[in-house]
């Protein structure tokens, strides 16, 4: 077993609304990412994926507040750190983050090289301009980006190129963990593929040690990551390898998500896409029992009352449902 780079234990974070209500967007989440591994997090809009990403970085600015739990990066616990300290010593150097609209992060009036100088000014102020330029040129070329990009303005670049530039800048300091939050959702399929190839390259070429990839596109996760976690209403409902999650899901929500994917392969036209009826619960007052009960096809009366444990299934899998594995598998067989 390789070294665990990022370990999160029972992390809970909340938003405080302006009426002083607490909304627990990340509810007792635990996860582990080993060196050289990648983890995918999937779920529909509003399930807490992006909040989890911000929480993992220790990036707590109101209305987001830290409640409890530990975040350990490479044996260093960052959970209690002040957000400003996090910004100075963790972001970029330990954890890098690519938001969905990363391409909008570039200031249109500055050349790309200026952003890179900024990064070094914050983390390594002794480097001279020439050193920075050489370092950046080398890094860009290793990642398959033309070095002339450094001297260009963001408006001169296409959307896909901008996104790849931002990714390259974010990993210049060789962070241990890269969190990519929907890095390709705003791009067309051709640019998306280049971004995905680049993310895989980052790991192989040693720019990052582990990757957390957040998206709602399951086929993407299937092709990129090793493990997958499916999130619903702030909780992790299923944890498995990608292969298991796609071909043998245990949680009814995971099963429903798999039913909604579209791939251009023969046989697809005969399949019926299954939409999940209803909407996720309001997290201001989450339901007492299972949070998915309202929308679940396999719901039992006790689901609405008892809280559901995250129970293990085998040595690395776990799921959050009161029904036993075998019962669920049979139900999926019969219920389609």
């Amino acid at each position: 077993m390789s070294k665990v780079i990022l370990e999160v234990k029972d992390l809970t974070t909340k938003y405080v609304t302006r009426f002083r209500e607490d909304v627990y967007a990340v509810d007792h989440v635990s996860l582990e990412v080993e060196e050289g591994k990648s983890l995918g997090i999937a779920g529909e809009s509003g399930c807490g994926k992006s909040t989890l990403a911000l929480s993992l970085m220790g990036y707590y600015f109101p209305p987001l507040h830290y409640t409890s739990g530990d975040i350990i990066i490479d044996d260093r616990n960052i959970s209690g750190m002040a957000p400003d300290a996090v910004r100075h010593s963790i972001l970029g150097a330990e954890i890098a983050y690519i938001p969905q609209s990363a391409m909008n992060a570039l200031n249109p009036t500055q050349k790309v090289i200026r952003f890179i100088e900024d990064v070094f000014q914050a983390h390594d102020p002794n480097k001279t301009g020439k050193e920075i330029y050489e370092y950046a040129t080398e890094a860009f070329e290793t990642l398959g980006l033309p070095s002339k990009v450094l001297q260009q303005y963001p408006v001169e670049l296409s959307g896909g190129m901008k996104q790849r530039t931002v990714i390259a800048i974010s990993v210049l300091l060789r962070p241990k963990v890269l969190i990519a939050d929907e890095p390709s959702s705003a791009l067309d399929v051709t640019s998306q593929k280049m971004v995905i190839r680049m993310l895989k390259d980052l790991m192989e070429k040693g720019f990052i040690k582990s990757l957390i990839f957040i998206t709602h596109e399951l086929p993407l996760l299937y092709n990129v990551t090793d493990d997958i976690m499916i999130m619903y209403a702030g909780q992790i409902v299923e944890k498995a390898t990608v292969r298991e999650a796609v071909f043998d899901p245990l949680h009814p929500y995971a099963k429903a998500l798999i039913g909604s994917i579209i791939v251009p392969e023969s046989g697809l036209r005969d399949l019926k896409l299954t939409a999940i009826p209803g909407a996720p619960p309001n997290l201001k007052n989450p339901p007492q029992g299972c949070r998915f009960a309202e929308r679940c096809n396999y719901v039992k009366p006790e689901c609405r009352v008892t809280s559901v444990p995250f129970q293990p299934a085998g040595d690395h899998r776990a799921y959050r449902c009161i029904l036993p594995e075998q019962v669920l598998r049979e139900a999926f067989e019969n219920g389609g």
Partner: protein, 270 residues
Amino acid sequence: MAGKRRPCLSGRGLTREFGSGRQRAVAVDHVSFDFHEGEVVSIVGESGSGKTTLAKMLLGLIQPTGGEIYFQGEKRDISTRKKKLEYWQNIQAIFQDPFSSFNIFSKIDTVLIDCIHMRGGRKLSREKKTGLMAEACSFVNLKFEELTRKYPFELSGGQQQRLMIARIFLLKPKILLADEPTSMIDACSRATILDMLMQLRDEIGMTIIFITHDIGLAYYVSDSVYIMQHGKIIEHGSADEVILHPREAYTRRLINDVPKIYEEWDLTTG
């Protein structure tokens, strides 16, 4: 099959150029097509292939610089405002970004009532109008009681896109042009939206034109597929023909760019 049906919307040598002289760019280049009644058509291509320019010409938002559009067998005439409004009763659109599709100053009631008025329901009683609005909302799984007096921006992206479909339900156009209707919403809502559109097609025999870069989506929903590259249609045919047995290298590349599950996804090419 499509061959027997009447063509609903056709184009002959349709061209749109932007700029002039050295700056001249041909966005859509002598494109010809026949979309039939009740058919679901997809126009697939990557960014910059001219899909959206073609869509805008079909909607009459921009004028073609060459070629003709035929609507129900006759040359389309939208020279006056009145004729344009008439044309728009027959063709409607759903756009990519639900957040910028609505006027932020009008409430959801106004959005829906406008549609009723456009179909000639101006004289209906208030109760009748409310009934129609509630029916449209329940068609798209929204509750009208929860929406009334709200503004569209108070809804989530998926809900807004569904509200857009509620409009289409009220307007019952002959042609619906959907420009990347699902690229900004998540995978579960996508299935719901596609389901609703297909249901509408079956109920009112609408022709649906999907504009998309996602060839998987095109394969799932459409009867026929047109592939666009650099403003030209380079391949077209039935969905099975084009996607399972593509002739052009470009089509193969587009198919290759979409992540697969059952087959290996080749990341090295393209």
